[in-house]
């Protein structure tokens, strides 16, 4: 009987950057445990500087671990880096494409780094250009591509070795909404084909769309984990009422709401009021009823919006801060 080993297995994984010049020692990753199973789509969600990219680099065997243990594809990244990297696809935050080479040449040279025979690269490149919807651009210099095209080419490039795991670090950061949706569509296709995805993001909608399971990280630690739906159910209410008030009355109104029945939930036990710099959030099972309660207190918000709770709310609940600061 074969027991499926997780593709990635981390225990008390730690990364400490030694002091450099005037900067003090920095604990980027502070003892995290997680596993990624084959075929799973796993996300690391957290604000900038939470340790997501560092974790990715350690999994990618391009950054030595400082403590704990890490196994990738059953191997030790400290000793079997090249063997591990041969079976990973990596999409870094910056694409590092070669602007002076053509689209196809970029795929070719990357394939050569994996020691793939030229004929194999040629075949795969044709298929990948198809997948990335870049067939017509094959002979163009990379310099002429749009941001979305560059990112799709980076993903195509990362697939040249038919990896067991695809690592994506902030795959859609900096892209316009349309380019993001095309990219999500491509990643979703990969997911359907059974490719194991590990991705970092600070976009909640991205995590909700693409991840089966995710860990929320903050200051190098895991603060929660589960499926997006679990996390929302556990750390947020069904609905959220977003209120904006006039600047001059904002603080007093927020205070009034915090001390009202809405903050303790009344008959709604999970109810809570969070005040952010620009708005007040009322967590509740019933947004409309909460809004009626606000009006009943003779408060008149400039705008009021009832929406579903998202991972953003989960993060806010867990850390008291918003994800994008």
């Amino acid at each position: 009987m074969v027991i499926a080993e997780p593709l990635v297995h981390a225990r008390q994984l730690t990364k400490i950057y030694p002091p450099r010049g005037s900067t003090a020692e920095f604990r980027a990753v502070d003892g995290i445990d997680f596993e990624v199973q084959r075929g799973e789509s796993f996300g690391l969600l957290g604000p900038n500087g939470a340790g997501k990219s560092t974790t990715m680099r350690m999994i990618a065997a391009t950054s030595p671990i400082s403590g704990g243990s890490l196994r990738v594809l059953g191997m030790d990244p400290m000793r079997q880096g090249p063997e591990i990297r041969a079976r990973l696809g990596v999409v870094t935050q910056d694409d590092y494409l070669d602007n002076e080479l053509t689209v196809r040449e970029n795929l070719h040279i990357y394939g050569r780094y994996f020691s793939l025979p030229r004929a194999v690269i040629r075949d795969r490149a044709t298929r990948l250009l198809d997948f990335a919807q870049l067939q017509e651009k094959a002979g163009d210099q990379v310099e002429t591509l749009s941001g979305g095209m560059r990112r799709r080419l980076t993903i195509a490039r990362s697939l040249i070795n038919e990896p067991d795991i695809l690592l994506l670090d902030e795959p859609t950061t900096g892209l316009d909404p349309q380019a993001r949706h095309i990219l999500w569509d491509r990643l979703f296709q990969l997911k359907q084909e059974g490719v194991t995805l590990i991705l970092t993001t600070h976009y909640m909608d991205e995590a909700e769309q693409l991840c089966d399971r995710l860990v929320v990280v903050d200051h190098g630690r895991i603060v929660a984990q589960g499926s997006p739906r679990d996390l929302i159910a556990r750390y947020a209410t069904r609905e959220v009422l977003e209120l904006r008030f006039r600047l001059d009355e904002r603080d007093t109104v927020a205070e009034k709401l915090r001390t009202s029945a809405l903050a303790t939930g009344g008959n709604d036990t999970d109810g809570r009021v969070e005040s952010l710099p620009d708005r007040v959030l009322v967590y509740t099972a019933d947004g409309e009823a909460a809004l009626a309660a606000v009006h009943a207190m003779s408060l008149t918000p400039l705008t009021a919006l009832v929406r579903r709770a998202t991972l953003e709310d989960v993060f806010l609940t867990l850390t008291g801060r918003s994800l994008i600061e």
């Binding site: 950057y17 680099r57 990618a60 391009t62 950054s63 030595p64 880096g81 090249p82 063997e83 990297r85 041969a86 990973l88 990596v90 870094t92 910056d94 590092y96 494409l97 070669d98 002076e100 080479l101 040449e105 070719h108 040279i109 990357y110 050569r112 780094y113 994996f114 020691s115 990362s158």
Partner: protein, 252 residues
């Protein structure tokens, strides 16, 4: 290593014609301008100070070594720092290639470039009748070694450089002065006596002496061995340090 070298060759395929033209034109202009122009002045007024050969024959191998140094330093510093910051090294880091292989592949390519450029230089010298026969081959290899002796330590340093202007500073205050104190344009014996020992410690002086004695056919086994050993030490030492600094930068 060869895959990393292959990348640089692929890029070079796009620019080699232009760079060969520069490789030939550069020495041509130098030798015509300085060799014939300044050379006539020197040959008429102070032939004794430059060992009794024509100024062009004296100056050409010095320039050959210095040009090799300059090409190798620029590619080994700016080229490396750019590749490490946002270029080829970054895209190759997630692949099976190790940082040590990236260092070796790039240095191999720089060696190849210096060899081509020096080959063009030696060919122009031969066309002017300034060098011939097997001595030309010796001078070519001497110049290439001089280049590598600069490229390897430069790469070891530059892979960690995050501000490109630091490279300009080193070029201006370290590399350019080497021209003056290494016997490129005039013999070190022209310098005040107290400064000469410093010259004998400078890597470019060893490169210039190696190339000059080989090209004039006055090389001795002992002398050449000393120069070669000095330059090889720099090249090998630089590469060994580069293996460490490359890993430190690319696998933080």
């Amino acid at each position: 290593m060869l895959h990393a070298f292959g990348y640089w060759l692929m890029r070079y395929r796009r620019t080699w014609r232009g760079s060969i033209v520069i490789n030939v034109l550069n020495p041509l202009l130098f030798l015509v301008g300085i060799g014939a122009g300044l050379g006539a002045l020197v040959d008429d007024n102070a032939p004794a100070q430059i060992a009794g050969v024509s100024y062009a024959a004296f100056f050409a191998p010095g320039m050959l070594a210095a040009a090799a140094m300059q090409n190798a330093f620029l590619e080994g510093s700016g080229g490396v720092a750019r590749a490490a910051g946002f270029g080829a090294y970054r895209s190759a880091t997630p692949t099976p290639l190790d940082p040590e292989q990236l260092a070796a592949g790039h240095l191999l390519f720089i060696t190849f470039r210096v060899l081509i450029a020096s080959g063009a230089f030696v060919a122009v010298m031969a066309a002017f009748g300034l060098v011939g026969g097997w001595w030309a081959l010796g001078a070519l290899l001497g110049a290439t070694l001089t280049g590598v002796a600069f490229a390897a330590p430069a790469a070891a340093w530059a892979v960690g450089v995050r501000k490109l202007r630091h490279i300009d500073t080193v070029f201006r205050f370290v590399i350019m002065p080497l021209y003056m104190f290494s016997g490129t344009f005039f013999a070190v014996s022209q310098l005040p006596e107290w400064i000469r020992p410093v010259s004998y410690l400078l890597p470019l002086w060893h490169g210039v002496e190696l190339c000059r004695t080989l090209s004039l056919g006055t090389a001795t086994i002992t002398g050449s061995c000393v120069h070669i050993a000095y330059l090889l030490t720099l090249a090998v030492g630089g590469f060994l340090v580069a293996r460490i600094t490359y890993r430190r930068r690319l696998h933080p």
